[in-house]
Structures are given as structure tokens and as C-alpha cells.
């Protein structure tokens, strides 16, 4: 089973990376950019029989390791 985890910074949390990327895009001549946020994307291939149990397991992984829940949100997508 394949899972994708999208990890993004919580609203209001400073994103120095996003800021620098936006600035650089501006300098390169791209216009109309209001906001850039950088997150992470983790793809996991896991042996599990069914979606619900995979989902539960991956949620555990996010809580324990993958996301820094102090400042990050995450979303799981299983295919």
C-alpha cells in the first residue's frame, strides 16, 4: 500500500524558507506572488491489508516521528 503524507506549517508559524523563495521568485521577475509556504511530502510504502489499519498506523507515525505537531499539520492520503 502506498501512502502520501503532506506536512505543512501551521498557520501563523513563521516560514523563513517560504519567505526566501518568494523573494527569489520576485527577483527572477515573476509577479503577483502573494505567499509561498514550504512543506514536506513523505511517501511510504507499507505492507498492510486494509486502508483503515494503514491509516491508523501512519497517523501514529506522524504523531510520533514524521511531523513536529508543535508547529506542523499533516494530512494522510492512501492509494
Amino acid at each position: 500500500m502506498k501512502a502520501k503524507i503532506f506536512i505543512t506549517l501551521k498557520e501563523g508559524v513563521l516560514d523563513p524558507q517560504g519567505k526566501a523563495i518568494a523573494q527569489s521568485l520576485n527577483n527572477l521577475g515573476f509577479t503577483g506572488i502573494n505567499d509561498v509556504r514550504q512543506g514536506r511530502l513523505i511517501e511510504i510504502e507499507i505492507d498492510k491489508d486494509n486502508k483503515p489499519s494503514a491509516f491508523k498506523e501512519i497517523d501514529q507515525m506522524c504523531q510520533k516521528l514524521l511531523a513536529n505537531t508543535v508547529i506542523e499539520n499533516y494530512k494522510i492520503e492512501i492509494t
Binding site: 501551521k10 501563523g12 508559524v13 513563521l14 516560514d15 523563513p16 519567505k19 526566501a20 523573494q23 513536529n68 505537531t69 508543535v70 508547529i71
Partner: protein, 733 residues
């Protein structure tokens, strides 16, 4: 006072309580204002009167450590202390805690701790030249410890490495009493021209107040009150107050501020640290006995619809508040534009004595500055002397094997090598690091001249716990000794006093006695405290950390050709200078091998300390000693092992006749290990005899093993592996 656009929360005594003010403090607020405060005003009071900003529990005692000498240019009270180092230069330094934030988010907490102390230094006009960090964690067996170590170390490195200031020293320590309350104390040392120091005192009515640096977000709101509150189970709900550090912006801010300081534009400058805009603007105005007017709409904001109290309390990082000369706005703007930093004129100095805040063209807060500062609460908390227990007599001592004991101690969490930590820190950038981490003191060359600063941090909380006064005195003495070891003349110290809840008399007693110990040692050694920080309420569920008065010390070397290192040469003779008593109370040996629970730490004799120290220093300066290492935790045999490992050469040594195996592990104070070529034997022995300094010939540098005749032989290989393996193994398993 409020219009429709600025609707504020209702205020009641309960609101005040929730913000961390006691009911009597709230009544004092009403008395000062002659009316009920609005919510914004109450928030400002709560931040300014928090333990963190007002030092309300410790002030009375801190004042007693007021010893200064003629080299001190600026003592406690500014962003950092300043001490003259000759040649028109000054060293600027301070240590600060970031304990609670680092527990909540170890990476960001530690990183922003480094950022904060860096700003304290360059605010004074100094270019930072070195970072140090003292980090204390819970037991290695505690589930969270590994994760905390990983994050804190990465955060310290991540920030310092990026800004490009070498991290050259510190301490890493484990003890179960820090399980849920780790300590992250960061220190920065900078260099400035002694007649170009910048202060926070504002002057000149009408001068503009400018804001530069990152935009303001809702980061760390109520952080200052959080740093002053105990932790409990609800900690998770406090999480969103964590700030994220942006070392890249810090680097730009550093360069921009130093560039601006070269022209004649700045009147006063203050970084926005704890309690952000509130404390920085209050500080500047109150020191200058002036009023200040701020238009909050002009504050660069990262988030939408921020309320007045949020803007005032935000602890967004990488921001500075500057009062400049009227008419110089363009000069400042030019430099900040070059460094691509947000910049805004947010207000001006007034003669009203008030802080007046505007938002949406109306006044949202109006507070008298002088009474808010002068009538800040100051408590005379009850305190109780630590009772001295001695359990030794009840225990039967085990017979020990020296070799096994040594290996066990060398591979124990606290005495094992901390290379795993400092390898993650760029300790060489700026190419001035002559001695980096892994020695007694770091040595950093000054501006490529023959001068250098020596820097060290020390504190043994087990000693302080056993006897706070003696333990604190010992910490100062050890830092003094570590500076001597590299050939530096000790100049001054900073401290970071980490303790539990001061409302408990036993804890307050630790604070009082520790301050007494620091006072006694600094006065006797002519070693003034020029800056410091207090971190209280380091408790979780009512259990306090070990009392930890962390000392950071700086010394000066005038000729870098004459420094001593922890490296010896084949065939040299090894000596111990200093009194060789057997003192095992609070020792590592006792903790790890005997476990008698003795509570009395080793004695500190400042008179002898000074005499031996000065002798050693003179000899290093003359090139007589090139190898020097003090004997500290673990005792003589551990110190010898460290020299052997560092030098990759072994030794043949023997204890004084008739001494017991324990002798090797005694932690008697005021001792140095030195080595000399054979031909200097008589000189050393005669000279020390003449001035009555105990000088014991321990053995000879030799071979590939550390050997004690008939008792022990450990190969260098084994010694090194045993010392270096623990931390990397702990972190990867």
C-alpha cells in the same frame, strides 16, 4: 479609551490572575493608574512584572553581587556585560537560558536561544566571535531524553552554523532531575571597540523610534510569563507559543546593525527579546527617563488583524528597536534596504513620561513608565539554609579495582567524550579558533592579532545540591582554573542561575547561598560578574531541577605563542600541582562506583587556589609549561586519561606512597596536571618548594598504554574507544 475598531477584552482580577499576576499585584496596577487597566495595559503589566523580566524574587540578592574592578566597562543591567581587554578593545558577553521553549520544541527552542543571546551581544556594538552552550538533560534512560538531545544539539548547530559564529565550548550533562525540565543555557562572546559601546538608554525628545528585522507575528505570545511558570500536565495546550528561528535573517540583522553602528546615527538600541516590543520600548524610555509614543499600525506585521496586545507581546525573533538621531532616517533606511530587512519608523520619544500606544488612530494604552518600573514587585522570599547531611559512616566501602572503575567512569554519560555534540557545531568558521571544543577552555584569536580570548563554562550541580554556597564557589573557581590552564589571565564572568520555584524556602535557600558563594569567590579572585540571567520555576509537577548556577568565564591571552594545551609529549615528566587530599563526597566515583551518598562536596580554598593559579599562569606565559589540564570531575586518573587520549601517547604513573586506590578518584580542588621535559625537573621542584606549593611527581609520558605499576594497564586504543563510544551509541540505538 477604546473605539469601535479597538474593542478589547473585559478585565477582571481573574483576567489578571490568568495572565500571571497575583491579586495584590493587580491592585497595585490599579493604584498606579488610578483606574482599571484595559486588557492591553494589563498584558503589558503582566509581562513587565513577570519573574523573567522583573527579577522580582532574585533582585534583592543579585544586588549583593555588585563587585566591580577597574576593567569593567559595563556591569549587569544592560544587554550584556563589557570588560576592557586592552588595545582599545573590549569583550562583551552574557549567558542566557532558554529552558522551557527547548523542552516544548527542542530544535526551535534551542535555536532561538542562540539567536537571542547573539542579539544581546551585537546590540552592544560587538561582533560576536564565539558561542558556547550548557545543556542539561534527564537520565539517558528516560524516554524523551534522546529526542531532546537530538533536537537541542541540532538547533544550536543549525542556528550558530548558519549565522557563521563558531560554537567552541560548553557542557553536556545528564541527570534524572532534569527529566522534564531540561536546561539550555547559551553564551555569546563578542569584541567591540571600548569607546564604541552602544546602550539602551534613550535620549532626545522627538527622536524617531525605528523597528528593523523580521515582521511581527503571533509567535510566543506570553512567552515571558511562560518562562516564569511551572510546567504541568497541561503543557500541550501551551504549544503554539513556540517561536521559529530564522538564522538567515539574524545574519543580515547582525551585519546591518554593525554597519549602521559605524556611522553616527544610533542613539540607543535594544533587541526585542522576552516580552518583545513591550520590554524593549519600556527599557529604552525608562532608562532615559522619557516617554515614548508608538503607532502600532506602523509595526511590520506578518499576520492579519493582530490586536494591540498581540503586537506588544509578540516574541517574534530577529527584531531590533532603535532610537536614531532625527534627520538620519534615510541613512538608516539605506543600510537596511541593502540587507533586505523590513524597516519602519514606528514612533518617537516624548517628554510625557508615558508610554502611549496608538492603533487605528486612537489610543489603545497609556501607561506611566517610571512607576511601572520603580514599583515593580520585589519580594523578600523566605529562605532556608540547605542542611548538610553526611551518610558516609553508615555505609561499608567496597574494595575496588582501579582499572574497572576507571573504564566505567570514562564511559559514563557525564564523563564520556562529547565529540558527538560538538562535531555538529562549526567551531572553526572565522578562522580564529586556536583551541576548540574538547579542552579546558576554548581559545579564540582576536582580529588576527597576537591576542586571544579564553572562554569556558562550568558548574557541577551535584556539588551545588550538596552545599549550594560551596558548590557555587567551586563553579567560579573551576572556571578560573580552566582559563589558567590555557595560559589566560581570568577577567570576568557571567552567570545563569537556574533553580526551581523560589516560593519554596528550600529553593530560595539554594538561590541565596549560591549567590553568596559566587560573591565570595568573585571578590577573592578579582573576577567580577558583569552580566547574567535568572531562570526560576524550573520544576515539573512540583519537583525541582538540581540547583544549577551556571558560570561562563572569559580570560585574556596577550601572546598566542604562549598557550598551554591538553597535549603532552613523549618522555616528559608528569606532575600534579596542588593539595592531594582524598575527597569523595558528591564525586563521580561515589556516584558510579561506591554509592555511599556522601553529601559534602570538596572544599574550596580560595587562597591556595589563587596562589597555585598565579604560579601556573606565570609559568605558561614564560613557556615553561606547554601542557596543562586541571583535575575536575572524576579526579586525577580521569584527567590523566584525557591527556593520554588527546595526545595519543600513554603514561606510566604512580600514586603517592601509601595512598589507597580511592586517591585516584578524589575530586580535591585547586589541582593542575602539568608536564615538563626532564631537564626542568629541578627548577620546578625547587621553585614550588620555595613558595610552598605541593608538587607531586606522578610519572612519565610514555608508550601506547596508561599504566599504573602492578595495578593497571589500559591500551590507548581501549581508553579512547571506551571514552568516545557512549554518546554516539546512545544516540543511534
Amino acid at each position: 479609551m477604546t473605539n469601535s475598531k479597538n474593542r478589547q477584552k473585559k478585565v477582571s482580577p481573574l483576567t489578571a490572575y490568568d495572565l500571571g499576576l497575583t491579586i495584590s499585584e493587580y491592585n497595585k496596577v490599579i493604584k498606579i493608574l488610578g483606574r482599571k487597566p484595559n486588557f492591553t495595559e494589563l498584558c503589558i503589566f503582566s509581562a513587565m512584572w513577570s519573574e523573567h523580566c522583573s527579577y522580582k524574587s532574585s533582585k534583592k540578592w543579585l544586588k549583593t553581587m555588585n563587585y566591580q574592578n577597574s576593567s569593567v566597562i559595563c556591569g549587569p543591567g544592560e544587554n550584556a556585560g563589557v570588560i576592557d581587554i586592552g588595545n582599545g578593545l573590549a569583550a562583551v558577553f552574557k549567558m542566557e537560558s532558554h529552558n522551557h521553549p527547548s523542552y516544548i520544541d527542542p530544535y526551535q527552542g534551542a535555536a532561538t536561544g542562540v539567536g537571542g543571546i547573539l542579539r544581546d551581544i551585537f546590540t552592544m556594538g560587538a561582533r560576536p566571535i564565539a558561542n558556547l552552550n550548557c545543556i542539561r538533560f534527564g537520565s539517558p534512560k528516560y524516554t524523551k531524553t534522546k529526542y531532546l538531545v537530538e533536537g537541542v544539539v541540532a538547533g544550536i548547530g543549525g542556528y550558530g552554523n548558519c549565522v557563521g559564529i563558531p560554537t567552541v565550548g560548553g557542557e553536556t550533562y545528564f541527570n534524572k532531575n532534569y527529566n522534564n525540565n531540561i536546561l539550555v543555557n547559551a553564551m555569546t562572546v563578542g569584541i567591540a571597540e571600548s569607546n564604541k559601546i552602544f546602550y539602551s538608554k534613550a535620549s532626545g525628545v522627538g527622536n524617531p523610534v525605528i523597528y528593523v528585522g523580521s515582521k511581527t507575528g503571533r509567535d510566543g505570545i506570553h512567552g515571558a510569563s511562560m518562562a516564569s511558570a511551572e510546567f504541568d500536565e497541561t503543557i500541550d495546550s501551551k504549544r503554539p507559543t513556540v517561536q521559529v528561528g530564522d538564522p538567515f535573517t539574524e545574519k543580515l540583522l547582525l551585519e546591518a546593525c554593525l554597519e549602521l553602528m559605524e556611522s553616527d546615527v544610533i542613539i540607543s538600541i535594544q533587541d526585542m527579546g522576552a516580552a518583545g516590543l513591550t520590554s524593549s520600548s519600556f527599557e529604552m524610555a525608562s532608562k532615559g527617563k522619557l516617554g515614548i509614543e508608538i503607532n502600532l499600525d506602523m509595526v511590520p506585521q506578518r499576520e492579519t488583524s493582530m490586536e494591540a496586545f498581540e503586537i506588544m507581546l509578540s516574541e517574534s525573533q530577529e527584531r531590533m528597536l532603535i532610537v536614531i538621531k532625527k534627520g538620519k532616517e534615510k541613512d538608516a533606511e539605506k543600510i537596511f534596504q541593502k540587507w533586505e530587512l523590513p524597516f519602519s519608523i514606528i514612533g518617537k520619544l516624548t517628554n510625557t513620561g508615558n508610554m502611549t500606544l496608538y492603533k487605528n488612530s486612537s489610543i489603545v494604552a497609556k501607561l506611566p513608565i517610571a512607576p511601572l518600573v520603580s514599583e515593580a514587585p520585589e519580594y523578600e522570599r523566605k529562605w532556608k539554609k540547605t542542611s548538610h547531611r553526611n551518610n558516609l559512616l553508615n555505609k561499608k566501602l567496597k574494595k575496588i579495582n582501579i582499572e574497572k572503575s576507571l573504564l566505567k567512569i570514562l564511559s559514563s554519560p557525564n564523563l564520556s567524550s562529547k565529540k558527538w555534540v560538538w562535531q555538529q557545531y562549526d567551531h572553526m568558521v572565522m578562522t580564529n579558533t586556536l583551541i576548540g571544543p574538547g579542552s579546558d577552555a576554548a581559545v579564540i584569536r582576536i582580529n588576527e592579532s597576537p591576542n586571544a580570548l579564553a572562554i569556558t563554562t562550568d558548574c557541577n550541580p551535584i556539588y551545588v545540591n550538596g552545599n549550594p554556597k560551596l558548590g557555587a564557589k567551586q563553579a567560579v573557581a573551576e572556571s578560573w582554573r580552566n582559563l589558567i590552564c590555557v595560559g589566560a589571565k581570568p577577567l570576568a564572568i557571567t552567570d545563569c542561575l537556574n533553580f526551581g520555584n523560589p516560593e519554596k524556602p528550600e529553593i530560595m535557600g539554594q538561590i541565596v547561598e549560591a549567590i553568596q558563594g559566587i560573591k565570595e569567590a568573585t571578590e577573592y579572585l578579582d573576577f567580577p560578574v558583569i552580566s547574567g540571567n535568572v531562570s526560576l520555576y524550573n520544576e515539573t509537577d512540583g519537583k525541582a531541577i538540581l540547583p544549577t548556577p551556571q558560570i561562563g568565564a572569559v580570560g585574556i591571552i596577550y601572546d598566542i605563542d604562549y598557550i598551554a594545551k591538553n597535549i603532552w609529549k613523549e618522555d616528559e615528566l608528569i606532575y600534579i600541582l596542588g593539595e592531594n587530599e582524598i575527597e569523595l563526597g558528591c564525586s563521580v566515583f561515589d556516584e558510579i562506583i561506591q554509592n555511599t551518598g556522601q553529601f559534602q562536596p570538596p572544599l574550596v580554598n580560595l587562597e591556595k587556589e589563587k596562589k597555585i593559579g598565579n604560579f601556573v599562569l606565570n609559568k605558561i606565559k614564560k613557556g615553561f609549561f606547554k601542557t596543562c589540564h586541571d583535575i575536575s570531575e572524576g579526579g586525577a586518573l580521569v584527567a590523566i586519561s584525557e591527556l593520554a587520549i588527546n595526545s595519543e601517547i600513554g603514561a606510566e604513573i604512580e600514586a603517592p606512597k601509601g595512598s589507597s586506590s580511592e586517591w585516584w578518584f578524589s575530586e580535591s580542588q585547586g589541582r593542575y596536571i602539568v608536564t615538563i621535559p626532564e631537564k626542568q625537573k629541578n627548577t620546578l621542584e625547587n621553585e614550588t618548594k620555595k613558595i610552598n606549593i605541593p608538587c607531586f611527581h606522578l610519572g612519565k609520558v610514555k608508550g601506547n598504554a596508561l599504566q599504573i605499576h602492578k595495578e593497571m594497564s589500559i591500551s590507548l586504543e581501549e581508553l579512547k574507544t571506551c571514552n568516545e563510544a557512549w554518546l554516539p551509541e546512545f544516540m543511534t540505538n
